[in-house]
């Protein structure tokens, strides 16, 4: 085998391997099975000092419900940006019947940040709306919007 073919094969192999990784990640996500990295630290930066994020050792209210399931840590954010609040599903914690635990954690972190920074959680329900026909596309948009606080890269 010439050097050039070998290099080409290696390149092709790497490409195929990375495609496989992407494909695998897609399929687990699409199937809604537990996040491949459930115990990754998920972090929000909150424009408040650490002492206002963890007050006398107490977690921000939205995280309290998940306290048995999660590890939490905080650190000062660089550049005076406040506090990095990080939480993860405790590794090897029993799955239990908690449903989408990562989704709940994402939503709780986002709510914690909003409450600490603004004192409220962004919402638009209920609000005025016109007739909402139950078309497949419409129901899909509704479902995506409803689950959106639990979704994303966080």
């Amino acid at each position: 085998m010439s050097k050039r073919t070998a290099a080409a094969l290696i390149a092709a192999g790497t490409a195929a391997a990375s495609v496989a990784v992407v494909a695998r990640r897609r399929s687990t996500d699409a199937a809604g099975s537990p996040d491949s990295n459930e115990s990754r630290w998920r972090v929000v930066t909150i424009a408040r000092p650490e002492a206002e994020v963890i007050v006398d050792g107490a977690l921000p209210a939205p995280l309290i419900e998940l306290a048995d399931l999660i590890d939490v840590r905080t650190s000062a954010a660089p550049g005076d940006r406040g506090t990095e609040l990080a939480a993860r599903i405790r590794p090897n914690s029993a799955a239990g019947d908690h449903g989408d635990r990562v989704g709940q954690l994402r939503a709780a972190l986002r709510r914690s940040k909003q409450l600490l920074e603004t004192g409220e959680v962004a919402t638009n329900e209920p609000q005025p709306e016109g007739h909402r026909p139950a078309t497949p596309a419409g129901l899909l948009v509704d479902a995506l919007a409803r689950r959106s606080p639990e979704k994303g890269i966080l």
């Binding site: 424009a47 962004a122 016109g130 509704d142 979704k151």
Partner: protein, 389 residues
Amino acid sequence: MKALCWTGINKLTIENVDEPTILNPSDAIVKVTMTASCGSDLHLLGGYVPGMRAGDILGHEFMGEIVAVGSGVSERKVGDRVVVCSFMSCGQCWYCTNGLTSLCDNTNPHPGLGEGLFGAPTGGCFGYSQITGGFAGSHAEYVRVPHIDTGAFLVPDGVTDEQAVFASDAVPTGWMGADLGGVKPGDVVAVWGAGGVGQMAARAAMLLGAEKVIVIDRLPERLEQVRSVIGAETLDYSSGEVMAELRERTGGRGPDVAIEAVGMEAHSERPDYVYDKVKTMLKLETDRPTAVREAILSARKGGSVFVLGVFGGVVDKFPLGAVMNKGLTLRSAQQHGHRYIPMLLDRIAAGEISTGHLATHVMPLDQGPQGYEMFKTKADGCVRAVFRP
């Protein structure tokens, strides 16, 4: 109450809907006195932006009178006559305290959608699809305004509704393009698009000291407004010679700052237009970036390009080689209006920025569907259809 609802691609209907209520302490209810159509609404209307839902109330450029406030409101009060920024700002997060208010972390209830599409969500916006939070828009008798203290600005006495309403969206958007595009005294600036946004960008560039401003479009009545009201030069792109013409008019250099105010439905005489049209029809490309390409190719070496036009997804044949080899700075944003609106209202009051001429068609909200049809087809010289609910 009455509201103008999106009911499907290119379909709008006036419907009877519930009145909004206060949901959060920072909220207010605003009785809408004037609400305008914007080029962005055309992208929503035409189904170019994902996440629209039949029954969504359109409208994000508006003004009105505060009729109720939540328990946490301290700056604004019932009776205030205000213009409201189309994007929402909490005033507290890092983005809001750094002047990047359309990127607010705390005003979009649907963060996962933007994170999926763009890697991070934008802030909330009125009447602008689920991606920006799914908020009911202003084409209605009343609208709920979260964070009224940061988002609503008192209209100076003597400024009419027709003048003030554009301080909600078109004026700050245009100003941002010139400001963050880096326009400075002595610059030559080219602006693609002579709609409300492009005209305001051109005026901003002049006020920031540009020595020559050239606005590119093909609609004669808009180009006439640019010359007679804004005071800038014009270039008709239907000649098909935009790049050569710009080169000639800029001493062979190209514009220092190129501002694109056209967006994802650009039309063109250029051959790539047909390519984009076919690709978007086949759903192989979501947006048509014709004017962005031309702005990048026309800008002078080391110049800057600011994309004000709205894009929602992916584009093809993006001239990255020109960006790289010509050393361009490329910037873009949804408008960060909060940092500019008080100053802009003062300039409108002082007669430095003319806006009323954009309201070419003022009509009752009942005629919303007809107004949008005119605006979409640019019939009867329509620059913006504006509604009084």
